[in-house]
Symmetry: D3
Subunit: 274 residues, 6 copies
Amino acid sequence: MTGSRPSVWIQDLTWEEVDSYLQHDRIAIVPVGSTEQHGPAGVLGVDTYVAITLAEDVAERTGVLVAPPIWYGDSSHHGGFPGTITIRPDTLTLLIRDVARSLARHGFDRIILLNGHKGSNLPALNSAVRVLHDEELPQVLFAVADPLHLARSSAPTIKETNEHHAGELELSHVHYRYPGKIRTDRLTDASVDFDEVFGGFVGNDLFGPAPDGVEIIWSGDEQRAFTPTGSFSSSLGLSEEKGKRYHDHIVTRLAELVEWLRGYHGPIGKPSDG
Amino acid sequence: MTGSRPSVWIQDLTWEEVDSYLQHDRIAIVPVGSTEQHGPAGVLGVDTYVAITLAEDVAERTGVLVAPPIWYGDSSHHGGFPGTITIRPDTLTLLIRDVARSLARHGFDRIILLNGHKGSNLPALNSAVRVLHDEELPQVLFAVADPLHLARSSAPTIKETNEHHAGELELSHVHYRYPGKIRTDRLTDASVDFDEVFGGFVGNDLFGPAPDGVEIIWSGDEQRAFTPTGSFSSSLGLSEEKGKRYHDHIVTRLAELVEWLRGYHGPIGKPSDG
Amino acid sequence: MTGSRPSVWIQDLTWEEVDSYLQHDRIAIVPVGSTEQHGPAGVLGVDTYVAITLAEDVAERTGVLVAPPIWYGDSSHHGGFPGTITIRPDTLTLLIRDVARSLARHGFDRIILLNGHKGSNLPALNSAVRVLHDEELPQVLFAVADPLHLARSSAPTIKETNEHHAGELELSHVHYRYPGKIRTDRLTDASVDFDEVFGGFVGNDLFGPAPDGVEIIWSGDEQRAFTPTGSFSSSLGLSEEKGKRYHDHIVTRLAELVEWLRGYHGPIGKPSDG
Amino acid sequence: MTGSRPSVWIQDLTWEEVDSYLQHDRIAIVPVGSTEQHGPAGVLGVDTYVAITLAEDVAERTGVLVAPPIWYGDSSHHGGFPGTITIRPDTLTLLIRDVARSLARHGFDRIILLNGHKGSNLPALNSAVRVLHDEELPQVLFAVADPLHLARSSAPTIKETNEHHAGELELSHVHYRYPGKIRTDRLTDASVDFDEVFGGFVGNDLFGPAPDGVEIIWSGDEQRAFTPTGSFSSSLGLSEEKGKRYHDHIVTRLAELVEWLRGYHGPIGKPSDG
Amino acid sequence: MTGSRPSVWIQDLTWEEVDSYLQHDRIAIVPVGSTEQHGPAGVLGVDTYVAITLAEDVAERTGVLVAPPIWYGDSSHHGGFPGTITIRPDTLTLLIRDVARSLARHGFDRIILLNGHKGSNLPALNSAVRVLHDEELPQVLFAVADPLHLARSSAPTIKETNEHHAGELELSHVHYRYPGKIRTDRLTDASVDFDEVFGGFVGNDLFGPAPDGVEIIWSGDEQRAFTPTGSFSSSLGLSEEKGKRYHDHIVTRLAELVEWLRGYHGPIGKPSDG
Amino acid sequence: MTGSRPSVWIQDLTWEEVDSYLQHDRIAIVPVGSTEQHGPAGVLGVDTYVAITLAEDVAERTGVLVAPPIWYGDSSHHGGFPGTITIRPDTLTLLIRDVARSLARHGFDRIILLNGHKGSNLPALNSAVRVLHDEELPQVLFAVADPLHLARSSAPTIKETNEHHAGELELSHVHYRYPGKIRTDRLTDASVDFDEVFGGFVGNDLFGPAPDGVEIIWSGDEQRAFTPTGSFSSSLGLSEEKGKRYHDHIVTRLAELVEWLRGYHGPIGKPSDG
């Protein structure tokens, strides 16, 4: 469906090729990840690889374009582990606004921020585009997408254990799409006793039932104290098959989002011509 | 349980009275709300009243102190309705950091940000304290609390219909605690067809099952287009009884949080002495 | 004169009620205070209570609306005393600009910033609106009001001693309007020898003659060194009667300001139709 | 009294000469002015020349050093007149903080910000150093000086008419110190009717009695409407003699300030050793 | 020389693998590029690919690590062409500072910012690290590297024509390392007459003699006016061989830099132990 | 050629005189310098004096106007020497933007930023105006000028030794124009061995051949370690004659720039009417 495009990636097209695209479509996906520890088995780029592969595959399927990936996110809570590179949420917010302004200048008017860093980047992404849309770019429809919400229905049917940072599903996903990026000889069992650490106010399964809870903020140093390996939940159940089911479900849902955006004759509140 | 304190509110104490408190306790609650439209029936201050009454009651029950309320939040999406006063998330973030720095200077080392503006302030609050805790105030344990998460288990058992902005539960809550603040002759039925407006990617019940979704950003003007009354869900089922059950559940849970914080010998990851 | 308004406070009105107001009037008052030590007798909220009561009464008298109060101001110089919560002037400036932008969006075009924190917030308030009016909101007439200037003529006739922070007039004012907020058993005599501390360059009476002086900047810790009680001048002369005279004078003058603003057909420099 | 210093100006010394100074003294003056219209007779640099000449003379008399002048201030209200160059108060604040940090790094610990731009720069200067002193540079004693306050007692005895922007005293001052900078053939009579423009809420004499007033914010365009010449008050009474008396009074008072600072064994609150 | 490292890229290592590296080496390279038009033949990612390939190869050769690439730079002057995504220099500066802070936290103390976006990012990179090194990270030695300066001696011997944006050398370089990224059927001859456009004040050869000149700032729209194809100089001479010679020269020089940094026992000014 | 202007300096003109100028010309020069150590012989203001004298002379010759000088620049690398006053590049950037906005408001549409602080201010100046021109002031043509580039052809023919900070040419220049500002009894021989300090990656002659190099960032403290006198290269060859030749060359080239700007009918890319 990508037609004659040499690539789904803007960085791999010339300006004339992007110009051609803009004659018939105006959707862009911006993949946002992080560079942060993912336990003994996961490479530091796991979150960005998640964003990249999802963006790439939905773009292949639907024919939209993808902007170059943002490899850095808000990872201060993982900063106690070597290799984690965190940027302040304030910085990420400014970065996203600049990228969106440039895309809008060229006529892109539906922008999907696709976050691979489950949850943690969402405050900055959300803050970035709420103000931008309200004050500067009313003509651009922004959607903020995250596997955490896109896989709500399917994740519980795929995974076999509690899923948290560097868990079974996340690592299976990257393992499926990027064989070799997961050190399969370093998978770990769960290592955080959430009730002991967080008193029952924080759930241990991102896709499971949550307690009547609050958000507890912890620093990188504190994290290293409660999980010296960096692992939050078991990754022993890793499999290519789980990764594939999880990946396909999200890509399919993102493709539906793209189709809906294509048919949308906004602004929001005036969705259709009919 | 408040002992001899003349008030739970810091603004109603002298500095010597706060000094006395700090001899035996170091917890503070900061109520954060908004000034934004809540349909034909709800006053603009609904969210702040929610934060105020929850803070006040849990403080009464547990003996902790409450900082003066923040009446302004991130409400750009309601800005199309007269009276809504929104501040940029970047501004709210700076404000929260300054307030927390002052509290920390005096020795408060467990700070609960209590958000009454369900959801919408969370990105700014979260961004504010993550950086602050990691870079400047490692000694302060921050918890970000919101009825949305504290009432997860009870809300579905109390409400009779979908609950969204200015819905049955929210208005019942304020009606119960502040009789007269809700115009009971102006209650409305649901007025947003979420599937038509958001294509099935956004749920219509903050306490109910959610779709495999994304976050769609809308402006104040767009909101006014899709809900000319400002109402998102039915408030016809408003009752003092519902408000009471909802309120009591959250206060009880917050009181448990306070007790847990009191016993916590952090930093996080080193929860207990035993 | 408030007609059928259920309240002078925007937070206690629905958006439709604010909309009605805007059909006939476009003035808003924004009360700005502080949370800072006011000696052994005054509660920490004294400045905000001053702003609130003045705003409320002038609004009752003239029929204008009041935005929710800002409880935090620039109080770094009081930061050595427990309970003082200070925000940076830069933060206060951003906050004021956001609030003003929202009011302007709805059509409010005469905004009175009513400062209860005598003097100390004025730099931030002034900086906030000068740029805003010149660059963004030329259509809005801003007035920055402070008891320090509004009571110039009357204060000297009411007070019996030098008036400085937490002095006789300030505490009488709050005592008159909010009985119980002043600990009348903890009134203090003057405790700062201004000439010794400030070398004759700073006056000890905010409403009295001032020396050929300069502004000396002191920190919270320094303040605690030169006034261990937090008191600057005697509050022994506190009386309800003084508070009433002071309050009534300022409210009357503010009411005159409101009337003048109503008749003003700006922009400034083109005041009248005649 | 300047000893062997080749100059009072830091920019006219080598680093070794500044180093010598710091062996025995630690006071610096930072002159801050503006570039803004001063009516048909005054050059745009009037305010900066005021700051420069006062700084220079007090430094000559007392032997302290002066930092290079800041020629730009917060002059948005004069921006309607060609040649006015205004910087945002936020920018001035950052600039002052950086300059102060550098001075403090070298050991200067008493810094006088000497404002020649009567009043208008004070909010930014004040905001700059309050935070800086409280959070970063507790060891530096900051004084913010302005002719408006230093000449309180003498100005009324010198001038013959109301003194406001570009008035008799200000222009006499520059005329006395910089012959030729005032176009004496372009002196003007008063041209603003303050009561008509500001309704009696703003005084027309910076050194005279003021009404029970407020601060009204006006833009550069509005100013040009109410005073097409840029003049606020009469400069017809200009004389070298008046300039001299005004200048000498302020320099003398500043010299007293320098002496007091030299003897101060702060921090504030611990003024003396005795 | 990379020993047992699975990759030179931090994002492709686990935190434990980075930890191992830090036991014996503390150098990191941060590749910074841009996403901007490079004429009809060059893809938008040319600059980032330059930074990536140089970083990767010098890391392979010397055994140091590379942080994930930054795909966005300061490209406002190319913003008139579809696909160009520019971030403000202020944003890039904040981003670089955050990345450097994270690296420094883990013990990296020699950081090479490797810019592939010839020239245009240098102001932001330079501003970012000058302040950072002076105020926050004195222990980190920063080097800012750019092909423009690293290839000074060799570029003139390789290229056959004037080299400017999207010129022969730049495209040969990417063509050599990433076959297929250059549309060899869309190479163009020079299209900007520098003397006509810039009056002789701007040179047309980044590696050639320059006039007695100044920097002229142009916008994206202006650029499109003076070079409708986006090409500045001829790329007709593109060849793999030129790309190889250029690449090898720079990689060799960067490797020498790495070796020098390894032996440096700073801080700067104390280069050696001997 | 200055016609009847009383001065080339805006600060020495009244607003009416600037208004007259704007009837026939729209060029302004903004001199930017620094206050930083220039070795035992040079005063701290050397860079600003360079900017001032060049601006003044080219303005005299061509009849354009000059804005008041900016005495502070980005000098953190000299901050280890008493008297150096550095401002952050971020601050300088904001300052330049504000000054440019004011000039543009009055109709100046060709602005030359004339930097006397060779090199070090360029990142901030460049960052300031690139964004400004692209986003806010498309109608203003900005040129950033520096002796480093304007004297490319002549400097090597004048100087007799390597020229770096506080070198022969720089000091000759100020000595020629401001006799007495250079302590001719304190001239020094070269004191930095660039190869030892910078490993051959940094050139020791700003006007000579440069190595295949990188930019190494050093702090003020580090600088003091590698050049305890503050001198980088020999100033023993100082002469008035060299200063004159250098000065005249640059002024002539700047005058050519002014003439070119006068004839330019931009925007850039549309240079001429013909």
